[in-house]
């Protein structure tokens, strides 16, 4: 019974995604069965589209910048959370983590109001980057919390005891030991930002990110197979990045000889 339930659940979850590559390689503009034969021309059309390339570059710029910013913020927050006790810590951490569960449409709307009406700031990729940093930081903190949790505080004290300063201890001891967590957080934030649509749609100006560009293509039925091809590429890249993140995290734990505190995935 449970086995059947799991199978039905997994089919329900992954069947639509499995259809992406099916129609991406289908030689026909209508997204329906029966299939019309095999082709790779949609991938060619995708590669030859300058607007799509521009959107991809925008997305990469946003994803790289916001994931680096999120991880820098996450490092500071996670270290403070695990190492220090201070008044209001629980409240502060709770508030930082809330964007994790807030409906994105609410975040997007309120950010749009703040940026345009109150700050009177022109919409651009930078407003998207700021918003993506906001939603990615909780993920970075969650991953880095686990990294710092697994790090014996006596190890940092031992380095200071042996003559190092706080800064050189961070560079020589802390950073190498939490590096797998940092890489994992970077990769996951990158994926989240790359795939994010609602906030990017609200806050981007004239430069669309990839998901926003895809949405704009949906109005033209003959472009649908190209979107299928693009979707296939995105799914493969996302899965590859997440696998890499988790593999890297486990390798780091093994190298440090630490127990697995439970990954984010």
């Amino acid at each position: 019974m449970l086995r059947a339930y799991v199978i039905v659940f997994l089919v329900f979850l992954y069947a639509p995604i499995a259809l992406l590559p099916v129609f991406a390689f289908n030689d026909g503009t209508v997204i329906a069965f029966p299939l019309d034969g095999f082709t790779t021309r949609w991938f060619g059309a995708m590669a030859g589209n300058p607007e799509l390339r521009g959107a991809l570059l925008n997305s990469l710029f946003v994803a790289v910048t916001s994931s680096v910013l999120s991880v820098l913020l996450g490092l500071a927050a996670a270290r403070a959370n695990i190492r220090y006790r201070f008044p209001g810590k629980a409240a502060a951490m709770g508030l930082i983590m809330i964007p994790l569960v807030l409906p994105e449409i609410i975040v997007a709307t309120s950010l749009l109001v703040v940026v345009v009406r109150i700050l009177d700031f022109p919409l651009s990729l930078w407003t998207v980057i700021a918003a993506h940093t906001l939603i990615c930081t909780p993920f970075a903190i969650a991953i880095l919390n686990a990294s710092f949790q697994a790090l014996d505080p006596a190890i940092e004290e031992a380095a200071i005891d042996l003559g190092e300063t706080r800064a050189s201890t961070f560079r020589l001891i802390t950073l190498p030991l939490v590096a797998p967590g940092i890489v994992a957080a970077l990769l996951i934030c990158f994926t989240i930002s790359l795939d994010e649509f609602i906030i990017a749609f609200f806050l981007t100006g004239s430069d669309p990110t990839l998901p926003v560009y895809i949405w704009s293509l949906l109005r033209f039925p003959r472009e649908l197979p190209t979107i299928m091809a693009l979707g296939t590429v995105l799914v493969v890249v996302s899965i590859a990045i997440l696998t890499l993140a988790e593999w890297n995290r486990r390798r780091g734990l093994r190298r440090a000889g630490q127990a697995d505190p439970g990954g984010f995935l």
Binding site: A154, I155, A158, I160, D161, L162, G163, L177, R255, A256
Partner: protein
């Protein structure tokens, strides 16, 4: 016995206080530790011994009072500028470095050394703790006892004035622990560095230390050499914490002390006097009384009773004896020397004892 005059003290603490919020962790610590001494801080968990050690290391600030190390006031001196190095309870081995990189970590700041000199120092340090040839291994591939040795070598390579050891043997099994105890004593004699050991294990403290400070609730109850601490505890609390002691209620009238089951003796004739928070008692160690076998006569006093329990330890046997008239049984330990019989539970017992082995707590 070391000289205990204050001018020679390497570490000198006066009225040291430490608060964590409302919690009073150190309540006025006065302490002098001599150069080359093996000094132990002994007490139950939560007594402040680790806080005191971390204060000396510089990981905690002194709330009030003064701390001098080698004649220098330590107020405002951070941990990385102090002439102390620490061996942590978890060993705190750097897991991403090799054994040699761990041991040589403290040499990074020594610009006067070239690579050759560094290697020699690392090899000497590894040699000293019996890990020669382990330098290239990954530090996290070592066993508990080996990590312990790496931590020791890493802390000793810089020849600190003081080595601080925070429960260094608590993670090892019993055999390994006893072996490391002896090695630590040997090492301390060899390098001549002052060792300060924190432990909750009274046996460990007695075996290893020149002097021991017994701590309760953030205060030092007694500072003494092992033998003094064992034989002349200053309070019932210290006496109960160190080893086993029999306690029997004492009735005081003038100089005369009457103990049910033992009889009357004079306070002057007793080994020592100490304090207690509750009713007066006399106390004595299990090995200071002796069971008398057939025909033996007591050299001093004799008491009668019944054996209620026999606990056999191989080299020793512990007898619980209900003395006639005493409110609770006492424990007597006997060495199982060749030819000595074991007595059975329920058998009558004659116990030889002496007022000279008693401590009066009042």
């Amino acid at each position: 016995m070391k000289d205990t005059s204050t001018e020679a003290a390497l570490i000198s603490l006066r009225e040291v206080q430490k608060h964590y919020g409302d919690y009073h962790a150190l309540r006025g610590i006065d302490l002098d530790i001599q150069p080359g001494e093996f000094f132990s801080l002994l007490g139950p968990s939560g007594c402040g011994k680790t806080t005191l050690l971390r204060t000396i290391a510089g990981f905690e600030d002194v709330g009030a009072g003064t701390m001098m190390i080698a004649g220098q006031d330590m107020r405002g001196v951070p941990a990385n500028k102090r002439p102390t190095h620490m061996v942590f309870q978890s060993y705190a081995i750097f897991p991403h470095l090799s054994v040699a990189q761990n041991v040589g970590f403290g040499l990074r700041r020594r610009s006067d050394l070239n690579a050759q000199a560094r290697n020699t120092l690392v090899e000497d340090a590894l040699d000293m703790v019996g890990l020669d040839g382990y330098g290239t291994r990954a530090a996290n591939a070592l066993s508990g006892g080996q990590r312990q040795r790496v931590a020791l070598a890493r802390a000793l390579i810089l020849r600190p004035k003081v080595l601080l050891l925070d429960e260094p043997l608590s993670a090892l099994d019993r055999k390994m622990r006893e072996q490391m105890q002896e090695e630590l004593i040997r090492l301390q004699r060899q390098v001549g560095i002052t060792f300060i050991l924190v432990t909750h294990d009274q046996e460990e403290a007695l075996v290893m230390s020149d002097r021991i400070a017994v701590m309760f609730d953030g205060s030092i109850a007694q500072i003494a050499a092992a033998e003094t601490l064992y034989r002349r505890p200053v309070s019932r609390r210290v006496a109960e914490f160190i080893g086993v002691m029999n306690f029997l209620p004492a009735d005081l009238s003038g100089d005369a002390v009457t103990v049910p089951g033992l009889g009357t003796m004079f306070a002057d004739a007793m080994q020592s006097q100490a304090t207690t928070d509750s009713a007066p008692v006399i106390g004595f160690r299990p090995e200071t009384a002796t069971l008398l076998f057939d025909g033996q006569a007591a050299p001093d006093r004799e008491a009668q009773g019944t054996i209620t329990e026999v606990v056999y330890y191989g080299d020793m046997t512990y007898y619980d004896i209900d003395l006639n008239g005493a409110p609770q049984p006492i424990r007597v330990s006997m060495r199982n020397v060749f030819g000595r019989p074991l007595l059975d539970r329920g058998a009558p017992a004659r116990v030889a004892w002496s007022p000279g082995a008693m401590t009066l707590f009042r």
